[in-house]
Structures are given as C-alpha cells and as structure tokens.
C-alpha cells in the first residue's frame, strides 16, 4: 500500500510540474516576443486581444501568483480557452483528432508489446538458437533508424513505390464514414504504414529487455525446482519465468509510453495523419499556444495514467511490493 501511495505522490508532483511548465514557458518569452506574436495576428478584437494577452502572461495589472491560481483553476475545469487558429474551444478541437491518435497509438503499443515480449521470451528460452542470434544485429539496425526516417522509408517503398498503401490521411477524401466493411477497410489500409512504423520502433526495446530479464530468471533456483518437479516446459516458461521477467518491463512502461507519443507526433506529421500529434506540430507552426498547452498536458497525463496502471499491475503480479 505504501508503494502505491508513493507512486501516487509522484503522479501528483509530475502533473503539477507539467502544469507549471505550461504556465512558466510563455512568461519566459521576452516582452517583445509576446507583442510580436500579437502583432502578427490580423483582425483581433479587443476582447480576443486581452484573452491572448492573459494567455501569454503580458497582463501586467495582475499579480503573477493570482494568474497562476486562475490558470490552475482553468486547467482543472478543462477550460483551455479558444484555439488561436480555429477560434473554437481547445477541448472541442482536440476531440476531433484524439480518437484517431488513441486508436493508432493503442493498437501499435499493444501489438509491439505482445510481439516484443513473446519474441523476447522465445529467444531467451532457446538461448543461442537461431532467433536469439538473429535478433541483436536486427535490433541494432532498428535503434539506429530514427522513427521519422523509418516512416519516410516505409512511405517511399510501400506507398510511393509499390502502391500497396495510400500515402496520406486517415481515410480516402470524400468517403462518408459509416460502419460498412468498405469504410473500415479503407481506414485500416490508411493506418497500416503509420502503425507499422510505431510497432517497428517500439518492439525492439521490448524484445531486448524481455530477453535479458528471461535469461536472468531462467537461472533462478525456483526454475530449476520447477524443472525437477517435471512440470511442462510451457508452464515453466510462462508461469515461472515470464511472469517474473515481465516486471521490469512494466516499470519501463512509463518511458516507453512517452517515447510512443513522441513517435506518434513524428509519424502523424510524416503521414499527414489527422491525430493530435499532427495537431501539436501545426500548433507550433501557428503559435497556437492554447492548443500547445492543452496537448502537452494531455500527453503528460496519458503517460501518468499508464504509469499508474503499470504500478498497479506490478503490485498485483509482485507480492513483494505489497508487503513493504
């Protein structure tokens, strides 16, 4: 219990840190920079001008502390203001892209986790075997390729070159979304290349850590005991080794999820996939600070929630964390 309480404390501190980064960054802009951003916007009504001013922290009539608490209150009530680009509430704007990103990132993470963990287990079980000796150079190659370049290469080979998959967007322009097989197939074929990029860039580290953890666990006495008892190899592999070997992998989930989000931003940009990752990039181009701030918070929150889930799972799978 103390373990979980400690982890929840970290959750709160990190959330607060992300909120504060969001608050401080615009205020680090030299006064002129804020002015120049405002000057670059045409047709700004006085009301909008004041709103933007407050957003950038150049409202000098208010104490910083007061606006800090006002800002925290706004964040808690999910009131992020209007998007500079589209003049609609930020939350409404984000909701358009969010399902696409969630689906893409979710599917890619699950596939890469299952594939990576399974490959790692098998490689360690048949240590020195064909799979085990093939993996290191392959993994090395994958880590050397930046996510975005992997995306470009896949697009170049399978999209432009072979015409196997469409080049951009989430579904063919003009097709009306429906629950028909044709539409779903269209969506899937648009998602194959972005998802494959993410899976390839993620699976490597899962395989690597899982294999190494398995090798360590296989040397444990209780595994030898299980063998001596004559248990089936399958049961030893899954119930005795994999269950323990997966614990450090769960702990690494946090960093991994942050990495997936980073990858999703680059991949969505490359494939012009209309998710929140692409929104994030276009918001930087347009200096759309309310959208930037809200999305940054969303990304951090996503990682935090995954960390909490991983911690809970660790507590369930590993009795040692519950005792202390």
């Amino acid at each position: 219990m103390r373990y979980l309480a400690k982890r929840f404390g970290l959750f709160l501190v990190t959330l607060w840190a992300a909120l504060t980064i969001n608050f401080i960054l615009p205020r680090l802009l030299p006064g002129n920079a804020a002015e120049s951003i405002l000057a670059g916007m045409r047709n700004v009504t006085p009301a909008a001008y004041h709103a933007i001013c407050a957003e950038l922290g150049c409202n000098l009539h208010q104490s910083v502390l007061l606006s800090y608490f006002q800002y925290l209150g706004n964040c808690i009530t999910l009131n992020f203001g209007l998007s500079f680009q589209y003049r609609i509430p930020v939350t409404q704007y984000i909701m358009i892209g969010l399902p696409w990103t969630l689906a893409l990132v979710g599917v890619a993470t699950v596939i890469s986790f299952l594939m990576g963990t399974l490959l790692g287990v098998v490689a360690a079980w048949r240590r020195g075997g064909r799979l085990d000796s093939m993996l290191p150079p392959f993994l090395f190659l994958l880590t050397a390729f930046p996510v975005f370049f992997l995306a470009i290469l896949l697009l170049l080979v399978f999209g432009v070159g072979l015409h196997w998959f469409p080049l951009t967007s989430n579904y063919t322009f003009g097709v009306v979304p429906s629950l028909s097989l044709g539409y779903i197939g269209d969506v899937v074929s648009h998602a194959v290349l972005p998802a494959t990029t993410l899976v390839l860039s993620l699976a490597g580290s899962w395989v690597y850590t899982m294999r190494n953890n398995m090798v360590t666990t296989l040397a444990e006495d209780y595994v030898r005991m299980a063998r001596a008892k004559g248990l089936r190899p399958w049961r030893i592999m899954i119930d005795y080794c994999a269950r323990n070997a997966i614990l450090p992998n769960l702990a690494g989930f946090a960093i991994q999820i942050g990495f997936v989000l980073g990858g999703a931003i680059l991949v969505e940009y490359t494939f012009s996939y209309p998710g929140v990752g692409g929104d994030f990039v276009s918001a930087t181009d347009a200096h759309d600070f309310p959208v930037l701030a809200a999305l940054f918070l969303l990304f951090t929150l996503a990682v935090l929630i995954c960390v909490l889930i991983a911690d809970l799972l660790t507590a369930i799978l590993d009795p040692r964390t519950r005792e202390s």
């Binding site: 990190t14 980064i21 390729f145 930046p146 980073g262 999305l295 990304f299 951090t300």
Partner: protein, 312 residues
C-alpha cells in the same frame, strides 16, 4: 594506496588515463580489439574530418541556386538538387558540421548534468537524494518530444543554442538515474570509507575517488546520449523547429518533406542522403556506446578490486 594525481584532471576521462600507461594501454588495446569500437571510432573520425574541412570534399556553396528544380542525381549533381536548385551533395557535406556540433555539445552538456545530479544524489543521500531523485523521476515521466517541441516553439526565433538547451533539459534524466544507481553501489565500498576516515572533503571524494571509478559508465552514457541527440535533433529540425536557415541534415529533411521530395517528380535522394547520414552518425555513437559497455564493465571491476585492496 596509489597516490592520487596532484592536480584535478579537467575531465574524468583524463583522470582515468592519467592513472598510468598500464590503464591507458588496456583502454586503447581494448578499443583496438573490439570490432564495434573500432568501427564506431573510424566512422566518427571520418565524420569529424568532413565536419572540420567540408571544402575538401566539395567546391560548391550549399546555399547557391545552381541547377533546375529537384533534378535526379547526375554527373554534375551527385545527389541531385533541391526544389530551388541547390546541390544536395554539398548540403550534405556542409551540414555535417552543425549536425555534429549540436550532437556533441548537447550530449556533453547532458552527460555533465546527469553526472552532477546522479552522483550528488547517490553520495549526499538523505533529503538531497530524495529531492534529486524526484526531479529525475518527473523528467523521466514528462514525455520528452512534446516537452522539446513546446520549448522550441516558445523560444521563438530559436537559434541553435536554444535547441541545444532544450535537448539538454529533456535528455539528462535517464543517465542520471543510471549514474545514481552506480554511485549507490559504490557508496559502501572500503576505499570510500577510507577516504572519509582520512577526513577528505566530499568534493575531493567525489572528484578523485568516485568519478574516476565511474569513467567507463560516464563515457558509455555520453555515447548513448549522443546517439539520442543525433536522432532527436534531426527530428526537431525535421518538424521545422530551430533555425531552419542553417544547413543541417535535419533542416534538409524538413525542406525535402515540405516539397514532396519522395513523391513522383521529386528527388528522393534529397531525403535519403541526409536520412542515412543521420543513421550513420547515430550508429557511430551507438557502436561506441555498446563497445564501452562491453569493455568498460570488466575493466571497471578489476580496476575497483585493485583500488579497494590497499585501502582496506
């Protein structure tokens, strides 16, 4: 007890090397014997030569508008041209310099920060450790690329230095955690106990007793961070952040993407050349990183034992 070097070495690497030709010989011998290390080193030296003297490899100005738009490779333009008719090959050559500088400076600064925070947390312990560990954990959880992007976006008109700052702020945490773990495992060792009993100041103990013992890990971490910086800096520039008027491999990728170089009618080599260059530089650092992990750990262990015995 071997006498410590009379003056403090500017870097831990130098401190390690100063411990005598014996250690130096083992170090260089190990690099020569390790194929990965040799490959990485040769690659890095080659890239450094290109970065230092690009005019040896091309006579063309990378920014000059010479040929037609997005021409495919030819005898004149070995890697074709950009949409404004600039020579892709000379951009690739001249772009090496800034790409390598950003990588090494950001990697070096981030290693420095991680050493300071990791070792201070491990050695000082107590509340300092708790605070620094919390800081490390927070920076590990906050997703790096979004933080990088948002920092780069707010530093409007961000130059190269702002990009380096952002890379360092987001990059140090993982190494700091590793170095803290290593530092903790050293803390109870006899030779540190001996130094404390002698009445040495914490600064002396950290600089002369702890850091030299951790050299291999620190160097490996620097290589790992540099590998990360190559890809991350290129990714940021690819998204159009930072100073896009400077020629780097990342900005080349950005303009190539913006102008549809991989699509029919474009010059795909405008994308492929800087992309594979990024892979190559990343691989050079990654090879050295793995090599230092491999040759560093056993060397570190035998080194520690030798130091510990006389102190006991």
């Amino acid at each position: 007890m071997a006498a410590p070097a009379p003056t403090l070495a500017p870097s831990a690497v130098a401190a390690e090397l100063r411990r005598g030709s014996d250690a130096l010989g083992r170090f260089t011998g190990a690099i020569a014997r390790n194929r990965k290390a040799a490959f990485g080193l040769v690659l890095l030296l080659l890239l450094s030569v290109v970065a230092a003297a690009p005019q040896l490899f091309t006579g063309r100005d990378p920014q000059a508008l010479l040929g037609g738009s997005q021409q495919l490779p030819s005898g004149t333009y070995w890697l074709g041209t950009t949409n404004t008719g600039q020579d892709v090959y000379s951009q690739l050559i001249w772009g090496t310099r800034l790409t390598l500088i950003i990588t090494v400076v950001a990697g070096g600064l981030a290693s420095f920060v991680s050493v300071v925070i990791g070792v201070a947390a491990a050695y000082l312990g107590g509340w300092t450790d708790r605070l620094l560990s919390l800081l490390t954990d927070v920076f590990l959880i906050i997703p790096t690329l979004p933080l990088l992007i948002i920092m780069a976006a707010y530093l409007t008109g961000a130059g190269t230095d702002a990009i380096i700052l952002a890379l360092v702020v987001t990059g140090w945490a993982f190494s700091a955690r590793q170095l803290r773990a290593q530092g903790l495992s050293l803390r109870t060792r006899d030779f540190l106990e001996a130094a404390r009993v002698r009445g040495e100041r914490p600064f002396y103990i950290i600089m002369v007793e702890i850091l030299p013992t951790m050299t291999s890990l620190i160097v490996a971490n620097f290589m790992g961070l540099s590998t990360y910086m190559v890809a991350t800096a290129a990714g940021l520039q690819y998204l159009g952040l930072g100073n896009t008027s400077e020629v780097t491999w990342g900005t080349m990728l950005h303009y190539a993407e913006e102008n549809g170089a991989i699509f029919p009618g474009g010059n795909p080599f405008w994308v492929l050349a800087p992309g594979f260059a990024v892979v190559l530089m990343g691989a050079a650092f990654a090879f050295l990183n793995y090599a230092f992990d491999e040759i560093g750990n056993p060397a570190l262990r035998s080194f520690r034992r030798r130091r510990a015995k006389p102190a006991a």
